[in-house]
């Protein structure tokens, strides 16, 4: 960990477990840190790549979880990027499966990865025109109310009053 701190500008280190730590790094140095971890520090296995939407801070957090199969330890590399026109360098040249993760993130969060193969093609959704659905400001309830028709024969009750009526009908 000291080598990494000497070489890269790490803004934050959290140790979650003995074999799992999360480090936060600036966007500009992220890919070189990931490459360094993969090639020098033997973190050869990309476990996952995902995003978290911190809408209050107007940021997206990308998490690259890397695993060292020899030392049996994990490092989560966290990168915060702007929420407006989010863009990040691609890592599809480092791992073959990364292009699928990036394609999904492009579709679900609207994060662009220029140069990643097939990144613009729909992955799971087909003909989607709304805002990317995994963003926090996408309202699933509103969407389903607008898109799907309610089934007949269903009504909603307030549980407290309904149960009171059912259990103590005389009161």
């Amino acid at each position: 960990m000291k080598d990494i701190q000497a070489k890269f500008k790490i803004t934050e280190i959290e140790e979650q477990r003995k074999d799992l730590s999360f480090i936060t790094i600036l966007k500009e140095q992220a890919i070189s840190l990931i490459t360094y971890l993969r090639d020098i520090k033997e973190y050869k296995h990309l476990v996952l790549l995902t995003a978290v939407d911190w809408i209050d801070d107007n940021k997206f957090q990308l998490t690259y979880l890397l695993n060292n199969p020899e030392k049996k330890s994990d490092i989560g590399v966290k990168v915060l990027i702007e929420r407006e026109n989010p863009e990040m360098e691609s890592i599809h040249h480092l791992w073959k499966q990364a292009k699928t993760y990036q394609r999904e993130l492009h579709e679900m969060f609207g994060i662009n990865f220029p140069g990643s193969p097939k990144v613009d093609e729909p992955f799971i959704l087909e003909g989607w025109t709304d805002i990317p659905p995994y963003r926090r400001d996408f309202d699933t309830k509103k969407y389903s109310e607008e898109t799907y028709f309610p089934r007949p024969g269903r009504s909603t009750n307030d549980p407290a009053t309904y149960m009171k009526q059912k259990l103590y009908p005389d009161e």
Binding site: H45, T63, G76, P117, K118, F123, E126, Y134, R136, T140
Partner: protein, 396 residues
């Protein structure tokens, strides 16, 4: 041993070259090439996905995996639900083996909240996970044999799986979705006489596994079609993120149960099963041996565990359970490889983000798309099943 039944044109130089993004532009009107959809409705497809194949003669030139037929947006739905409301949701992410989802979710919540579960609950969780492995493999082995035309194996193995599901029904009340591993512990102790009935089931499974070994693995047709087919090279393991039996068959011993012991696996005596050449036959054989290992582990668990005492730790009121802010990653070894949950909490009653890492995500897309090229179209189903993929965990 000849690898292909029939090849249309050996000269690859006649095939159109690939573009920079890895795609091939083919002129379908020339009638040299054909686009075939293998799935989503096809007996040789594993669940709700499809392969868009470009073939020349009967040889596959290009493949693209399409998913999205089963997308229910679980990860997004969880952000709107309290932790306890997520609990019956997570098991639906992987249909044939829901227990790994339940375990990873529960362990994630417990780790973030700093809860230690009682020992009996840990033993019962280990037992449930091993039983889940057993029944999932039994279903898979029928699919693998079916892909090469041996329908009878599926009938035998699904009978055995039904017996294991009977035990699950006894233990949890549900056959497929168990909702048993709740954050904080498990829902119940083993019922009276459960060990005896489970032992009878295990003996039946063992008897059938002997028959399956004879009929499937000593069968000349199965060998002819699977030996040397769909080889995974050792160098690909990290390049593609391959885990589980697919990697172990290539000689790279990756087993979360051994490498990162969780629950009670460090108290059980076992060695991960491995091989040195990952073709369809060896992968199938490795999974057959894994079934036998699972049976052995279940017996060890039953002999070592104490079916009494606390099964639930003290948890906050589940309706107002605020999980402290933080993030973690929990992994477990499912039948297909490393299954993990990445959970982020912001200190409220709702999870901020839950991301599911399913092994099929890498196996069914990046790996399959590259492996399938140049194979015969008759082998596509067998090759796909041999990677053991479940589409629901790709699209969550």
């Amino acid at each position: 041993m000849s690898k292909k039944l029939y090849t249309y044109n050996q000269d690859r130089s006649l095939f159109p070259p690939r573009n920079e993004d890895g795609r091939i532009d083919v002129d379908l009107s020339s009638h040299k090439f054909l686009k075939i959809w293998h799935g989503p409705q096809h007996p040789g497809i594993t669940g709700n996905m499809s392969l868009e194949l470009t073939v020349q003669g009967d040889e596959v030139m290009d493949c693209e995996t399409h998913v999205g037929y089963l997308h229910r947006g679980f990860e997004k739905l969880m952000e709107r639900r309290k932790y306890i409301q997520c609990f019956p949701l997570v098991c639906r992410i992987t249909v044939p083996e829901p227990d790994y989802n339940e375990y990873c979710f529960a362990a994630g919540v417990e780790e973030l909240s700093g809860i230690k579960i009682p020992e009996t609950a840990e033993w019962i969780r280990t037992l449930v996970l091993e039983m889940a492995r057993l029944q999932s493999y039994l279903m898979w082995i029928g699919g693998q044999a079916g892909a090469f035309g041996q329908g009878i194996i599926g009938q035998w193995s699904n009978y055995c799986r039904d017996l294991v599901l009977d035990r699950f029904e006894e233990l949890t009340g549900g056959r497929i979705y168990h909702m048993f591993i709740i954050p904080g512990g498990v829902r119940g102790l083993l019922p009276d006489g459960f060990e005896k009935r489970l032992e009878e089931t295990l003996q039946t499974v063992e008897r059938y596994m002997k028959d399956i070994k004879k009929v499937m693995f000593d069968n000349a047709v199965f060998k002819k079609r699977s030996v040397g087919m769909g080889v995974i090279e050792k160098e690909w393991i990290n390049k593609y993120g391959i885990t589980g039996p697919n990697a172990r068959a290539a000689g790279v011993i990756l087993d979360v149960r051994k490498d990162y012991p969780y629950l009670k696996y460090n108290e059980l005596d076992f060695e991960p099963i491995s091989d040195n050449y990952s073709d369809i036959y060896n992968r199938a054989n490795l999974r057959r041996r894994d079934i036998l290992l699972s049976i052995d582990l279940i017996r060890q668990i039953l002999s070592k565990m104490d079916n009494k005492g606390d099964i639930r730790a003290m948890t906050p009121n589940v309706l107002h359970w605020k999980v402290p802010a933080g993030e973690t990653y929990i992994r477990s070894e499912c039948t297909r490889g490393e299954f993990g949950y990445y959970m982020v909490s912001d200190g409220t009653e709702y999870p901020r983000r839950v991301n599911v890492r399913g092994p099929s995500y890498t196996h069914a897309i990046a790996l399959l798309e590259d492996m399938i090229i140049n194979e015969n179209i008759a082998d596509v189903a067998g090759l796909m099943v041999s990677l053991h993929t479940y589409p629901p965990e790709i699209e969550r």
